[in-house]
């Protein structure tokens, strides 16, 4: 098939102008209705998402629309390791990044290794999204579900606490989130019959301060969304992508994964709270302040863990504290992040698993589209409309960017499974046809403002936007890209010899801005001079 590089449906110059002013005010620190209360990241990149908001938008401008065509390789670091799925941090001139069981610290100017930490472990090695930094310490989750605290100067282990029992299937792939001296993590796994949770540990000692289950507590109204406590107590709900945080509301936002067994819903009639939901948690106690379910009674593995992105902007003429998620189920959601009030639900890729939208804004699953013993043909890619690849929100364009998949898939209910449903998916799915696309969504309407074909098949490229009017990402065809975020036009591209399966990030040191991209097992740094 022919690729259609750019398709621009419409433009809204007025809206862009308004938001561009808002962005400028933000940079100048002036007060404004539209001023982002969560500071933008600039010189450093100290957290998984850069800042607390999950926008992955940097205020740096040295590399910009007019000069990005001169971007050059500054350094590369060969890990000889697994595909890089972590977003590196940059703090005080040191870059920290990971694969499962390993952490590296590099000189951010040269790529010279400062230290490497290794710890062989049991457990699931699917991925490692990165570390957290706090007061000179590095926090690192392991495949056997331990949380480690390392000395950021030398990689020496300071403590090691067991967060969950890996023999039950738990593991930690997440980059921890630091909030008020708490190290917040969520547990991974979607095969086993366990109860997942989000946990906050003391930064200094590793002592558990609070733990919130992603499944309803027995006796609560939410427990009525399960047929019985037994199904609920084994109901999954992993929490495997780093959440976001609003320091002014003191709320942590965290997405939750599929119920269990994911493809077989018969034994868990009901909505199955709080699986496939966005949770707002009190940062001090972990209490669930509000929740919104993106996929009630999921039977397709539509994890709702994708980054819930925070930004302040007008919605229907009213200034709002917003939270937006392009969810794996193919729907884009915008909510008021203070109250959880639903504002928008729109489909960003064609899919037919739902038969409508309910009064709360959640899609209504169509029982006829659940996996069947003889096979169910579904409109929608096998792994969902998107996955863990990080989206980005650019306050200047007002657009929400996300790499997505479109296609068709075939779903079988495993009626002949000899194993108990507690330790399998309850079925399987086959990707029939999948194509990847980068979308720019208007948060006010869900409308696709422009899109760029990425290629046939699957990849996991994250996205970075900057105040230099740039969007960095990769495509499935092996290109690293800098695009104009207002229209998707290619401003720079190169072939780094592999596919981007993590999110680009940026920082500035000694008046030089760097862009970092992990390609397979190599970390590449790009800048305008190509040298120190």
């Amino acid at each position: 098939m022919m690729f259609l590089p750019i398709w621009k449906r419409s433009s809204s110059i007025k809206a862009i102008a308004i938001l561009a002013i808002a962005g400028a005010e933000c940079l100048l620190g002036q007060t404004s209705i539209l001023k982002a209360p969560i500071p933008s990241v600039s010189d450093s990149w100290p957290t998984y998402n850069g800042d607390y908001s999950g926008r992955r938008y940097s205020a740096l401008t040295q590399i910009n629309k007019s000069n990005v065509k001169s971007l050059k390789l500054a350094w590369a670091y060969q890990t000889h390791a697994a595909t890089l799925k972590s977003t590196p941090l940059e703090v005080h001139g040191i870059v920290y990044f990971t694969v499962p069981d390993r952490v590296w610290a590099l000189d951010a100017k040269t790529g010279q290794q400062i230290w490497e930490f290794r710890r062989t472990s049991e457990g699931d090695h699917t991925g490692q999204r990165g570390v957290a930094f706090y007061k000179g310490r590095i926090y690192f989750g392991t495949p056997d579900a331990h949380l480690l605290c390392l000395d950021a100067r030398n990689g020496k282990k300071l403590w090691d606490v067991k967060v969950a029992d890996t023999s039950l299937g738990y593991y930690l792939s997440i980059a921890p989130l630091i909030v008020n001296g708490l190290v917040v993590v969520g547990t991974s796994d979607d095969i086993m019959a366990v109860r997942h949770f989000i946990e906050a540990l003391d930064w200094e000692t590793g002592k558990v301060i609070w733990r919130t289950s992603t499944l309803a507590e027995p006796g609560t109204p939410a427990a009525k969304t399960w047929p019985n406590d037994k199904a609920m107590s084994h109901g999954g709900g992993s929490a495997w992508i780093t959440g976001t945080y609003d320091p002014y509301l003191n709320l942590i936002y965290w997405g939750t994964g599929n119920p269990h067994p994911v493809l077989a819903g018969a034994g868990r009639a009901g909505d199955n709270l709080y699986t496939c939901s966005i949770l707002a948690l009190n940062a001090d106690t972990g209490a669930i302040v509000w929740s919104f379910q993106t996929s009630p009674h999921d039977t397709h593995d539509w994890d709702s863990v994708e980054t819930p992105v925070l930004f302040d902007a007008e919605f229907k003429g009213k200034p709002r504290k917003l939270i937006a998620q392009a969810s794996r189920n193919g729907y884009f959601f915008v909510l008021d992040r203070q109250t959880g009030e639903h504002l928008l639900t729109s489909q960003y890729v064609p899919t037919n698993w739902a038969k409508g939208i309910d009064s709360k804004g959640s899609p209504i699953p169509d029982p006829a589209k659940e996996p069947q013993p003889d096979g169910l043909l579904l409109r929608g890619a096998q792994g969902g409309g998107t996955n863990w690849m990080s989206p980005s929100f650019d306050p200047e364009t007002g657009l929400f960017y996300v790499n997505v998949r479109k296609g068709y898939s075939l779903w079988h209910l495993d009626a002949d499974a000899k194993s108990p449903p507690e330790d399998n998916h309850g079925g399987g799915s086959i990707a029939l046809f999948t194509t990847s696309v980068l979308l720019a969504l208007d948060y006010r309407t869900g409308e696709i403002r422009w899109q760029r074909e990425s290629g046939l098949g699957l990849a996991y490229p994250g996205i970075l936007t900057t105040a230099g009017h740039l969007l960095f990402t990769g495509d499935i065809s092996g290109n690293l890209l800098a695009l104009d975020p207002s229209n998707g036009h290619v401003l720079w591209h190169t072939r780094p010899g592999g596919v981007l399966n993590s999110a680009p990030m940026t920082y500035q040191l000694n008046r030089t801005q760097y862009i970092l991209t992990g390609i397979d097992g190599v970390l590449y740094a790009w800048n305008l001079s190509g040298s120190l």
């Binding site: 098939m1 022919m2 694969v99 079925g427 290629g455």
Partner: protein, 261 residues
């Protein structure tokens, strides 16, 4: 010697030699133990199924039950390097950190799947059971769809390319294959500025360049701004039909194809 026996015989010394071997694997003399196959299945579904399908029968990536490499594998000797090093040129990532026990369990799962699929071909009981699950449509309605609405007969013939197709594939594979067969034979016609046209198998096409294998078998590529490219995807009709099938059509066509033994 069966694959299973070779696997059992050769697996144990390899296990003992493995540097990163998990303790529980050392303690288990039979690598094809149900528990190992189940562990391999879990590991496979976590790491491999997104491309190769939950049952290893293919999806975006190839069907591993048909893979000559997997079928010739002894004790993971061929599978392990592919898992560790990947096939980056074909889009498969490397898993260099996967420990030997996990790799052997995945190999056990794949070999168990092959044994099972061989069993499907030879065991009437298993075949009936699998078919019963899939045969929910009407073969007659499927035949009508094949010659009518589906326009399948434009390219396919039950006595030609489809003769005996039901005997060649397991029910689940047949269902997935007729909906959208795995293929790599997309053709392209590249028109040069001189007006000359070059035909070949499309190898790459993105926003920047096109690459083909020309009729003489040579790799050729051009920047997109220099040429015009016309792509002929033999599966374009299959893709169009994916958007048109009702689920009943899928099961009717399957029931019809299942009569072509």
């Amino acid at each position: 010697m069966s694959v299973l026996r070779q696997f059992v015989k050769l697996c144990i010394p390899l296990c003992l030699a493995a540097q990163l071997l998990a303790v529980d694997a050392v303690a288990q003399p039979n690598p094809m133990k149900k528990e190992n196959v189940q562990r391999g299945k879990t590991k496979f579904q976590q790491n491999c199924a997104e491309c190769h399908g939950n049952e290893a029968m293919g999806g975006a990536g190839p069907n591993l039950l048909e893979s000559p490499l997997v079928r010739h594998d002894n004790n993971g000797n061929l599978i392990a390097p592919v898992i560790r090093e990947g096939r980056v040129d074909k889009g498969m990532p490397a898993f260099p950190l996967m420990n030997q026990a996990d790799i052997l369990n995945i190999a056990a799962f794949l070999h168990a799947r092959i044994e099972a699929s061989n069993g499907v071909k030879s065991s009437t009981a298993v075949l009936d059971h699998a078919l019963k699950q899939f045969l929910t449509g009407s073969a007659e309605a499927g035949r009508k769809y094949f010659y009518g609405k589906g326009h399948c007969a434009t390219c396919h013939s039950p006595r030609g390319d489809l003769a005996g197709i039901a005997s060649r594939y397991s029910p689940m594979r047949l269902e997935a294959r007729f909906l959208y067969p795995p293929h790599d034979n997309v053709m392209a016609i590249v028109s040069l500025p001189s007006g000359k046209q070059i035909n070949g198998n499309l190898l790459h096409l993105d926003a920047f360049y096109v690459a083909i294998l020309d009729e003489d078998g040579w790799y050729r590529s051009w920047p997109l701004q220099q040429v015009k490219v016309e792509v002929k995807d033999p599966l374009a009709e299959h893709l169009e039909l994916l958007g048109q099938y009702k689920n009943k059509d899928v099961h009717d066509v399957f029931a019809y194809l299942e009569t072509l033994k």
